[in-house]
């Protein structure tokens, strides 16, 4: 998986060093942690919430929570698991809120993926008309994202953590708090659902 950073022992040590330095008052260490995990977290939020602005807002919220809670961090646990857990829970809370569900319906009516934050799509080719294959790819991704949006929050969480973020079943269980059996069954159901929807749309 090219997206997921492997949670090796060295990574874990690097994280705990940064945390220890931050707890001693070094703010730069906190910034280093943010730089290390920001892309992963914002993308996780984007896939879960399906909206760029919401993803940006939620990712920032996640790091603020990390900042406030680092004093309670147990050094035995993995920082990666910990920050993912915070991000997933923050996203799930938003997914469950009435305002969010209403917002999503409005975005769908507008044709999807439209935000004031500047869609990443236009950044790719400096403003000129993208080639056909790019457009096809974009259309396919939009279809997949629409299909993901229709899944339940539990199913999409497991699917994104496994097939987009590349976490193992055990890591997914640690992040979400689900049992391994639940992870397996929810992932199977999510893939089956996605297969049906994409087959219909493509």
């Amino acid at each position: 998986m090219n997206k997921k950073e492997s949670n090796t022992k060295s990574e874990h040590c690097a994280d705990t060093d940064l945390i220890a330095a931050f707890l001693k008052g070094d703010m730069i260490s906190f910034d280093r942690l943010v730089l290390k995990y920001q892309k992963r977290i914002i993308n996780l939020c984007y896939r879960l919430l399906g909206d760029y602005d919401e993803a940006n807002d939620t990712a920032q919220e996640t790091f603020v929570k990390v900042y406030r809670s680092l004093k309670n961090f147990r050094f035995q646990a993995s920082f990666s698991t910990w920050i993912y857990r915070i991000a997933v829970n923050t996203c799930k809370n938003k997914l469950g809120s009435f305002n969010y569900r209403f917002h999503k319906k409005m975005v769908r009516l507008n044709g999807g993926h439209q935000s004031e934050g500047g869609a990443f799509i236009t950044q790719l080719n400096g403003g000129s008309t993208p080639p056909l294959n790019e457009l096809i790819k974009k259309e396919r991704e939009a279809t997949i994202q629409r299909a993901i949006d229709t899944l339940s929050k539990h199913q999409k969480t497991v699917l994104i953590l496994r097939d987009i973020e590349g976490h193992s079943y055990e890591e997914i269980a640690r992040i979400t708090g689900y049992t391994l059996g639940t992870v397996r069954s929810r992932l199977a159901r999510a893939r089956e659902e996605l297969k049906k929807k994409i087959k219909r749309d493509m």
Binding site: I42, Y46, Q60, L187, A188, K195
Partner: protein
Amino acid sequence: MKCVDVKKYLSEYIDGKLEGELNEQVKKHLLSCGACSEDLDAILTIKEHLGRMEEIEVPQDFISSIHKRIEEDSGLKKIFNTLFKPARIKIPLELAAGLTAVIVIIILLNLQPLFKSTGQLAYEKKETEILGQKKREERPFITETKSYDDKSEEFEEQKAEVKEPLQMIEEDQLEIAQSIESMKRSQPSAEPVPETQSRPEVSQDMEKKPVELALFVKAVPVDDVMGEMDDMDMATEGVIAKRAKKADRLQPSGKEAQMAGGDIKPNIMDLYLKTKELILESGGSVISSELSAETGLPLSVSAEIPRENYQSFLDKLKNIADISEPLPSVSFTERKFVEMHLRFYTEN
């Protein structure tokens, strides 16, 4: 292995999570089943696409936005802490719980008399006091056995006693008026309570009666004995007037004295039954009856009479008993019923 079972395991098979025998069975099935193979391909394609989804870029101001949020949070927290400064002293939880319980108990104890002094409870409390006093005194029935001479001596003492507590009674008026006000609110139909006396007449417990009767008298007596008559404060004053007048009248006749003793009981009961009959005839109803715990004879009866029949009821009542003067009259016109409290006395 059947297709429906294989479908369940496809996801784990793709991820290499099936072990040993199960993995082999699924693999074998896929080799021979086109439908399940297609399903497998479809899931593999999705998985591949998901793995190659475009990543979104992090905004330029991401870290600075986080810093801003942290500062805003801290600022708010400082304000909050300044406004609601927590105590620096650490108190053990048990001590805090104990202190809270003690404070709550003290508050409840202080509020309890306040609740009891208003509303129905006040009425009941006074009624209990009266009954208690009555039981202690046992006047109506003790006096039955006394001779006339003893009674006159007692009367003189009582007459003197009447003057003494007049001042106390005035102080009681205010308290009782307040009780009446609260009872009025809870018992809107409470109305004048005249006294009734049976033949033969008996002296009353004057130093006690103003308080107890005051509870039941609400309306304005006809004669302005005590000056300005208000719908609220008349009760006690009317009673005092009665007291005074009764004192003058407490001269039982020889005949009545003869009737004392053994004839009292049937007469009281007889009067009680006749009174009840009269109440019902007048379209009213008996609210309650008070009986002596010792003898079982009636002490009083509370009833409500329709206003329009009240006067005729009084007239009929005069035929069967002596009613003390002045006769209470109804000053209110808006109430449909007149509530009355009739107390039975014998005098010898």
